[in-house]
């Protein structure tokens, strides 16, 4: 009987250990977006993006507060949150997906496709994002860029401002992960 108890101890210990070593997280991920038009260039950066990767399941999740985006003009920040992205109603943008053919153990650089659901402004779209994954002795760095169409996410732009805001917004990201400890 005592042996069984010891065994169970070891087992629970293992499961918990496994959970710890399997997940990596970033709390200061960077995401920027750019809108280039002939009238106006708009860019904003968020340095407080959260992301977590489950290495064994090849799963990744990203979550960010929309009002943490910093703009050159503070009025743009207000308009972005109040009139376009409506962060009162939809405070966060999230992504949940899977890294296709991911080999967590391979060191160096690998370029993989991440396929998953991107939710902005309360609307979810399936996207595929080409991502550079660098594994530097267990320190993972993910970088990449992709484009999102404003219309897809039901963001209303008044006709008079249509020339100022690009139809597709380019988004870049850079996430440096650390082992996740609860």
């Amino acid at each position: 009987m005592n042996k069984i108890i010891v065994l169970l101890f070891i087992l629970t210990g293992f499961t918990e250990l496994e959970v710890k070593s399997d997940q990596i997280i970033t709390r200061q991920g960077q995401t920027s977006f750019f809108s280039y038009t002939s009238v106006e260039n708009i860019e904003a950066k968020n340095n407080q993006v959260l992301s977590i990767i489950d290495l064994s399941k090849h799963k990744i999740a990203v979550s960010m507060l929309m009002n943490a985006f910093v703009f050159k003009k503070s009025l743009m920040h207000e308009h972005f949150n109040e009139s376009y992205i409506e962060s009162d109603l939809y405070p966060k943008a999230t992504f949940e997906g899977k890294i296709i053919d991911f080999d967590p153990l391979a060191t160096g650089t690998q370029i993989k496709i991440i396929k998953g659901d991107l939710t902005i402004h309360g609307i979810t779209k399936e996207v595929e994002i080409k991502t550079t994954i660098e594994n530097n002795n267990g320190n993972y760095l993910l970088t990449g860029d992709f484009e999102a169409t404003v219309k897809d996410f039901d963001i209303k732009i008044p006709p008079i401002l249509a020339p100022n805001i690009a139809k597709t917004i380019s988004i870049t990201f850079r996430f440096e992960y650390q082992p996740y400890e609860k």
Partner: protein, 302 residues
Amino acid sequence: MKNKTHLLVCFFILIGCGISINAQDLLETLEKEYPDTPQYEFATFKASRISIGHSIETRKKGILEIQAFNRFWNIPNYGGQSFVADKLSARLALEYGISNRLTFGAGGSTLDGIFDGFLKYRLIRQRSDGKGSPLSVTLFQNGSYRSKRNRPFPDVNRFDEFSDKLAFTSQLLIARKFTPQFSMQISPTYTHRSSSAFSEDPNNQFAIGIGGRYKLGGHVSIASEYYYVINPLESIDTYDAFSLGVNWELSDVMLQFHLTNTRAMAEDAFIMQTPNNFNFKDGNLVFGFNAIFVLHLNQKQP
């Protein structure tokens, strides 16, 4: 033996927990990782005025606002051929955000020759995360100088000395953003006039303002304001200031259109000394048009 079975059950629960943590959604895990930084409501109102009176909003640091407030009205039984309206009054002003909470502004009105300057400090900010204050509070203090008499309207102060022409208004602006669309404000107001032409008039006057806005879309809202004067002037008949209007903002420009009974734009004049009531008769109905242009003098590097 019985104890051991208990232990066993405990272990199974433990393992169960372990497995459930494992199976937990990654997004849910991230949800708990958000730092507990306070989240504040923004844009309770869009501009520094609801329509005629000050709102709790102050501009961020380094923002310069160039403002042109205009009032148009007709003179009853007037035979002239003026363009659009018989009379026009304009207040040209600048407002600058000294810090994210403190704004300084100064301007001059053409009709009554009032020059005014003010400081506005954002004392308490409403938080949107359910903690902290449910209200925003802003302190407002202005001083105004009446450079000329304003015929045909009666003058309630003396014009002998420089100090006779001064008036000071303090406001405690209290507002709450109830929903993303709807905000309300209550503005207790105190005005001190340095001199009175008539002995029966109070030098210190009190009023309570109530104002609100309702957002119709991303860029358009309707706004209304009413100021109730508690101890009005005795020598002349004055009426409470009222306005009903539409606010429209697009990128760096804000336009406010309203129907009102006030012609003056300095606080002591339009709140306490409006000589006509709100109705659609010529001479009483005033069309107001505020144009605000926003300049960012120091831009952040994102």
